[in-house]
Symmetry: C2
Subunit: 134 residues, 2 copies
DNA sequence: TCTGCTATATGACTGACACATATAGTATAA
DNA sequence: TTATACTATATGTGTCAGTCATATAGCAGA
């Protein structure tokens, strides 16, 4: 049910070139937060990402690669779950180091939001005064 | 790798690895906005960027490349200024197309800020309730 | 002359991301 | 039984912003 392959280009879609304006590495803190809430496997994380971030179909390739990279860095650990139906699932769990990393990310994101606000403030200041001027 | 254990963050430095958590292509709307305020050459834009975005020394390589790319795309136009002392300066001026692009960027950035808010809300919701639980 | 500031520019590399594709297990309907 | 759809993990490749290093040249003052 995770249709990552259809891209509808309606008006709410970005005018600027794709990829621009997004936060670099934003999938990383989301994965860590979702794992902090509850251990999960990749496919489930993909679905939860699609809801919370309203990102319609996060790229599976990026997701699985990010998880494996996290494991290499000790931010998560994994085990195979062969219970239930369907193929075996690799279940991820966040580590203490991963939690620390998540908190650092939160600080980072607050800082990024301030930068955005600073831009928007200056943008509006300029174009409001430009509006007054005519 | 983000060695958060060894080095206490000296407030201005980022905790997570460099480049992460920043907005992709964020220099682009800044340049367009600064040029919308007033035509300028690269070096001056670099200094104004350092003030407004409090980014201490934006990378000159990226800045000049971005400006030339903008010119190729018709977002800005340039002319040489040989007046005054020092080396000749290439003075950039924003075009109508550049203004349009800037406005599209502003929409994009508002959307990005909403995404950040959504993350921070969920982050705080989780860790506040986790605090209550102990 | 040597240093330092102004000013523009290129080359090499990295990391996040997009897009395509491969793989296999399971369930269900034709 | 075959076909298909869904679940689940994974790799390969290319793009692009960002980082760092370096090259260049004009000009000014010690």
């Amino acid at each position: 049910m995770c249709n990552s392959h259809h891209r509808e280009q309606d008006e709410s879609e970005e005018h600027c070139c794709p990829g621009r304006g997004r936060v670099r590495g934003f999938m990383q803190p989301w994965l860590l937060l979702l794992l902090a809430q509850k251990p999960a496997h990749g496919y489930e994380l993909m679905e939860r990402l699609g809801q919370d971030d309203e990102t319609p179909g996060a790229d599976p390739g990026l997701l699985y690669r990010t998880l494996r990279q996290f494991e290499q860095e000790g931010l998560v650990r994994s085990s195979w779950d062969t219970e239930g139906s369907g193929p075996a699932r690799r279940v991820y769990e966040i580590t203490d180091e991963g939690l620390e990393y998540l908190h650092a990310w939160a600080v980072n994101i607050r800082r990024t939001r301030e930068r955005l606000d600073r831009f928007l403030a200056e943008y509006q200041a300029h174009f409001q005064s430009a509006e007054e001027g005519r």
